[in-house]
Structures are given as structure tokens and as C-alpha cells.
């Protein structure tokens, strides 16, 4: 029997593959459909292909960082909800992200429960 509600799609963009795997597992248990990109360019491409409801985006990545990636995404997509992963309380990067319509910030390292609640909150808005 098919579920009546289609699964909500989440795109994870993070260069740390173990963290990607962990977040994927946590969120899949919550019933989301997950796509993973290990760098900014792959993330931009996947966003266009899969048109997810929400993106979890790491700010610190080699080559194209989170802010740059989001700037590219926002050029064509001003709908997708974005949750940013950042180190503990970095006011500077948060200021950078202010104009890019970011819904929530989550500082690493985070609790699994926190991740789930932040994403639930962002999707509900």
C-alpha cells in the first residue's frame, strides 16, 4: 500500500562524507527522502534535478563554500528552505548569510534531536 503523502525531499551538502552519512540516516528514520552532495557544485546540480523541499548546507567546505553555493542556488531558486550548518556561534558567517533567506542555523556539533526539530520547524514555517 502506497503512502498517501509523498515523502519530503531533503538535499544535504557537506564535504564530510561520514557526517553526510550520519545526517542521512537520522533524517531517513524520520521519513524524509535524502539526496547527498559532497561539494557545492554537485549540490547546485542536484538541487536543479531533484527540486528538494529543504537543503541542509555546510558553510565550511573546500573550493566553493556554503555562502557561495547558496548564492548560486538563490539565482534560480528562491523557494527552497535552507538550514545552515555552522561551527559554534559564528556571528560573521551568520551576517553573511542574512540576505540569502536562510530559515535556521544549526551549530556543529549538534544533538540528533536538535537536528530533527530544527528541520521540522523549518519545514513547518
Amino acid at each position: 500500500m502506497k503512502k498517501a503523502v509523498t515523502k519530503q525531499k531533503i538535499l544535504l551538502i557537506d564535504d564530510e562524507s561520514d557526517l553526510l552519512e550520519l545526517i542521512k540516516e537520522i533524517l531517513e528514520r524520520e521519513g524524509y527522502q535524502i539526496f547527498c552532495a559532497s561539494n557545492g557544485a554537485a549540490g547546485i546540480l542536484l538541487n536543479e534535478q531533484e527540486n528538494p523541499d529543504l537543503i541542509v548546507l555546510d558553510l565550511r567546505m573546500p573550493e566553493m563554500d556554503g555562502i557561495e553555493t547558496l548564492q548560486h542556488i538563490r539565482k534560480t531558486d528562491d523557494q527552497v528552505i535552507v538550514v545552515i550548518l555552522t561551527g559554534y556561534g559564528c556571528p560573521d558567517t551568520i551576517r553573511d548569510a542574512v540576505d540569502l533567506n536562510v530559515s535556521e542555523y544549526l551549530s556543529k556539533p549538534f544533538e540528533n534531536k536538535q537536528l530533527v526539530s530544527v528541520i521540522g520547524k523549518a519545514l513547518d514555517l
Binding site: 545526517i23 559554534y88 540528533n112
Partner: protein, 514 residues
């Protein structure tokens, strides 16, 4: 023929002698008239015979006018200070038959009333039979010398007033002059305590070789040597100094003295050291920031994975679950340590600037709300200050203090509660900031310990025991105070900060130097 010749020869001889005499007198007059000093010759009675033009100019008498007059009439001397008449030295010479020189501070009054400081001497004249026949008086206008002397005295006053050490040593190294600044720098009360010591007595023994092998030869060869030494004071204490050594030569170029100028550079040294430390701290700060960011990811994975495993193993294997919980607790403790280190690293080596306190506190509230749920709290910020009242400080450092205190307050209140932050004027020079929570409070015994390092009052997973120590340090470097008050457990806690405000800018900057 013979007789005639004899007379002729005689006449020739006399003529020749007369010529000689005239020639000598002419020579003597020429010499006398060309001498730069004033010369008056006198007969045995002390009356003027000859006067050269310099003497005419200084006395205001012409030679023909003065001729035959007693010296007292044309040569009027007084004491510069007492203005009493002084006997001229000629009388003394006539009485004693010996040379005489004049006392110091003698002033000659010319016929037109002009006064000039002069120096003079008088010498007796004897004939071939050693009979005293007269006196020669030689004197000089000392106006220029006196002016030059005054300039030298002025310069000496400058050298004496100069705070650094200025000293002269003879070629054996024995000190023959030291200024008042040098006397004080060495910790002596009188210059005499230091004079007669050797230059090297003022140096740290380890600097001797450098002084004799490098400083002196270089100074003599290249006219000056500059370097740093350690100065040994009278009481044995040492201070770092910068030293200039230079030779003083006579007009022929022969070495006469060694000059030294020494300045105390202990303050510069201390400042340099502080700078060095702050540079090291800045490097450390960047390192800490980078390392914590790098560790955040692996730590997130450890915490996340452990939590996942715990949720999957729901009570099935109690020992395993227990171990996983220990693992999780300790990983979370690492997380708190990292976040404190990161906060601390951001406070290091930042410039101070004007800080708007209400804005800063709002920013701190925002920052805490990214990490903790503040929505269940009632938060009130009341600022009772004019818009012009600002403090000077390190914005990031102060921000981290407020983040830390607000986070503490959040953690002290289990679910609901009220967080009140007030900013008021404490007195003319200080602001008072109170951060008041209605949380668990602090017992009296704990209150004394909360500002000690690694003495966190929190349970293991909540605090590292570094937050308040760091905060206290930051407030103190801003010239302020930080303390906590609590009526006891369950009674809430109040943290009070006093900070000097803008009108006391100098005080703030002094505080930051420490």
C-alpha cells in the same frame, strides 16, 4: 787721517745705534698697536705713557688725552656683583715688583659709561740695572667669552635636567662628570657617589667584554657607538638601557674624554614583551579557532552516531547502553570545551573601539538563541543611559562575556523563568550592568568558587569551568569588575558588571595595557 777716520767711525757707530733704537721703538709700537689685547704702559709713578688702539676703545680715552694722566683716571674698575670700586693691579705691581692678575667679575667703566667685563694682568718693567721703571697693563674685553659661558651654562642646565644619564670619563675610564638624571637613574642621591668610579662599574659584568671590545673601539673609530646594555644601579638592581658612546677630542684631534648617553628602556622592553605575547596569543587564537572548527565535524559524527546507536539499542543490552552513554557524555563535554575555547580565541588581540552596550547585549541574546531555546523565557533588557554614553573596549571580548553570562542564566533556569538585564550609571565614571535570572541560584559556599578555573558549578555536560574565569579576565582588562550575588539555592542569581565609560577613556586604555 787716522783721527778723522776714528771720529768718522765713531759718528757712524752712534748713527747706527740711533737708527737701531728708532727702528726698535717703531717695531715695538707696531707690535703694541697690532696686539688684539688692550695694552697700556705706565711710568714708575703709575702715569700713562702709551696706549694701543684696543685700550683706547675699551677705556674710551685717546692716547694723547690719557698721556701723563694717572691710571685711576682712565681705568676705572668695579666689582660686577657688589659694584664696589676695585684697586687696579698696577699699584700692587709697583709696590711688590711682581706680576699681578685681576680678580674675577671685574668690570671696566669706559669714559662714556659703557661697562664691560674684562680680564687683565700687569707686569713690571725693569731697566738693565734691574731697576723698576714702569708697568705694562694688558687687558681683554670678556663680553663675548661671558656670553659664550652663559650659553654653556644654559646647555649644562639642559643636560642636568635631561632624565637620561649623561656622563664623561677620562681616558682611563674614570667618571669625571655625571648629570643629575644619571645620578637619579643609578639610584644615588649625589653625583659624588658615582664620580671616580669606572665606566665599567655601571655595567652588568657580562657586558664588559662587549663594551671594551666593541663599543669603545667602534666609538673611537667611527665617532659614535649605539647599542643596548644592562645598567647596574647602586642598589644592585639592573635595568635595560640604550647607550651611546662617543669620543671627545681636543682641537688637534687627540682623544681627551669618553662621553656616554644612557636612557632607560625598561618601559619599551616591557611593551615589546607585551606585544610579543599578544602576537603569540593571536597565533594561538587563530590556531584554536581553526582546530575547534576542524574538530567540530568529527565530534558531530561521534555524538550523532552514539545517539543513533543508543536509540537503536533501546534497553536490550544494558552494559552496552551504559558504555554508550558514557561515550556520549564525554563527547558532549569535549563539545563544550571547544565552544569555550572558540569563544576565548575570538577575544584575543582585537582592537578596542567604542561599543554600544544595548546593541551588544541584543547581539549576545541572538547568539545564545542560536544554540539554546530562549522562547520559554521572559527576557527584558532595560537601558537607562543617554545615547551618548558609550564604553571603549574589545567588542568581541565583551560579546563573549555577555554570551557566557546569558548562557549561564539560560542553563540556570530549567524551563520557564525571567531573564532581566539592566544597564545603569553606577557613578560618574562607571556603568553598572546586571544580569538577573530566576533560576536555581548558587549556594554561599559555591559563590566563592565560581570564578576559579575548572571549578564549574555545572554538571559535567554543561560547563567546562572556564567561562567565568575568562569573563572575569576580560572585564578586568577593561578596568572593570565582575561578581555574582545569590540569595541561595533556588533564589536566582545576579551577575553584576562595572565598566568604566567613555569619559574615562585614559583609564580604560591603561586597563587594557595590563
Amino acid at each position: 787721517m787716522f783721527g778723522l777716520l776714528g771720529i768718522y767711525e765713531n759718528i757712524t757707530e752712534r748713527k747706527r745705534m740711533q737708527d737701531d733704537l728708532a727702528r726698535r721703538e717703531a717695531e715695538m709700537r707696531t707690535t703694541l698697536y697690532s696686539i688684539g689685547d688692550a695694552v697700556i704702559s705706565l711710568d714708575i709713578n703709575g702715569c700713562v705713557l702709551l696706549m694701543n688702539p684696543v685700550a683706547e676703545q675699551l677705556t674710551g680715552w685717546s692716547e694723547p688725552e690719557a698721556h701723563g694722566k694717572r691710571l685711576e683716571e682712565v681705568f676705572c674698575l668695579i666689582n660686577e656683583k657688589t659694584r664696589a670700586k676695585i684697586d687696579n693691579p698696577v699699584t700692587l705691581v709697583l709696590n711688590s715688583g711682581r706680576n699681578a692678575t685681576m680678580m674675577a667679575h671685574t668690570v671696566l667703566i669706559a669714559s662714556d659709561g659703557t661697562e664691560r667685563p674684562i680680564g687683565d694682568s700687569a707686569a713690571p718693567i725693569f731697566d738693565q740695572a734691574h731697576q723698576l721703571t714702569g708697568v705694562v697693563l694688558v687687558f681683554r674685553d670678556l663680553t663675548k667669552e661671558r656670553a659664550a659661558e652663559e650659553v654653556i651654562l644654559d646647555q649644562l642646565a639642559i643636560i642636568e635636567t635631561y632624565q637620561g644619564l649623561v656622563a664623561l670619563a677620562d681616558m682611563d675610564g674614570k667618571l669625571i662628570y655625571i648629570n643629575a638624571g644619571g645620578t637619579k637613574l643609578l639610584g644615588a642621591t649625589q653625583a659624588e657617589e658615582i664620580l671616580a668610579k669606572n665606566m665599567t662599574d655601571l655595567l652588568e659584568p657580562t657586558d664588559f667584554k662587549r663594551f671594551t671590545d666593541e663599543a669603545l673601539p667602534v666609538a673611537i673609530k667611527e665617532r659614535v657607538w649605539n647599542g643596548e646594555h644592562t645598567l647596574k644601579r647602586m642598589d644592585g638592581t639592573r635595568i635595560p638601557v640604550s647607550q651611546t658612546v662617543f669620543p671627545i677630542r681636543d682641537p688637534q684631534g687627540n682623544l681627551r674624554h669618553i662621553g656616554m648617553i644612557i636612557t632607560d628602556i625598561s618601559q619599551q622592553k616591557a611593551l615589546q614583551e607585551k606585544l610579543l605575547i599578544s602576537e603569540k596569543l593571536a597565533v594561538m587564537g587563530r590556531l584554536v579557532a581553526d582546530v575547534s572548527h576542524e574538530i567540530n565535524n568529527p565530534l558531530a559524527i561521534i555524538i550523532g552516531r552514539t545517539q543513533l546507536m543508543l536509540s537503536q539499542s533501546d534497553g536490550q543490552q544494558p552494559p552496552l547502553q551504559c558504555q554508550l552513554e558514557t561515550l556520549l557524555q564525554n563527547a558532549q563535554r569535549c563539545k563544550t570545551i571547544l565552544s569555550n575555547l572558540l569563544t576565548y580565541s575570538r577575544t584575543i588581540s582585537k582592537q578596542e573601539a567604542a561599543v554600544n552596550l544595548p546593541d551588544l547585549i541584543r547581539e549576545a541574546l541572538d547568539a545564545v538563541s542560536y544554540q539554546y531555546d530562549m522562547s520559554t523565557l521572559e527576557v527584558a533588557v532595560a537601558c537607562n543611559l543617554s545615547a551618548y554614553t558609550k564604553i571603549i573596549g574589545n567588542k568581541d571580548a565583551l560579546l563573549s562575556v555577555f554570551i557566557n553570562l546569558i548562557r549561564n542564566a539560560r542553563q540556570a533556569m530549567t524551563q520557564t523563568g525571567k531573564l532581566t538585564i539592566t544597564i545603569t550609571m553606577e557613578n560618574e565614571s562607571q556603568l553598572r550592568i546586571e544580569i538577573h535570572d530566576t533560576g536555581i541560584g548558587i549556594s554561599k559556599s559555591c559563590l566563592e568558587k565560581i570564578f576559579q578555573p575548572f571549578n564549574s558549578g555545572w554538571q559535567q555536560d554543561k560547563g567546562t569551568g572556564l567561562g567565568l574565569v575568562t569573563s572575569l579576565g576580560i572585564i578586568e582588562t577593561h578596568g572593570g569588575k565582575l561578581w555574582a550575588e545569590s540569595a541561595g539555592e533556588g533564589q536566582g542569581t545576579k551577575f553584576i558588571i562595572l565598566l568604566p565609560h567613555r569619559n574615562r577613556k585614559t583609564q580604560v586604555i591603561n586597563g587594557l595595557e595590563d
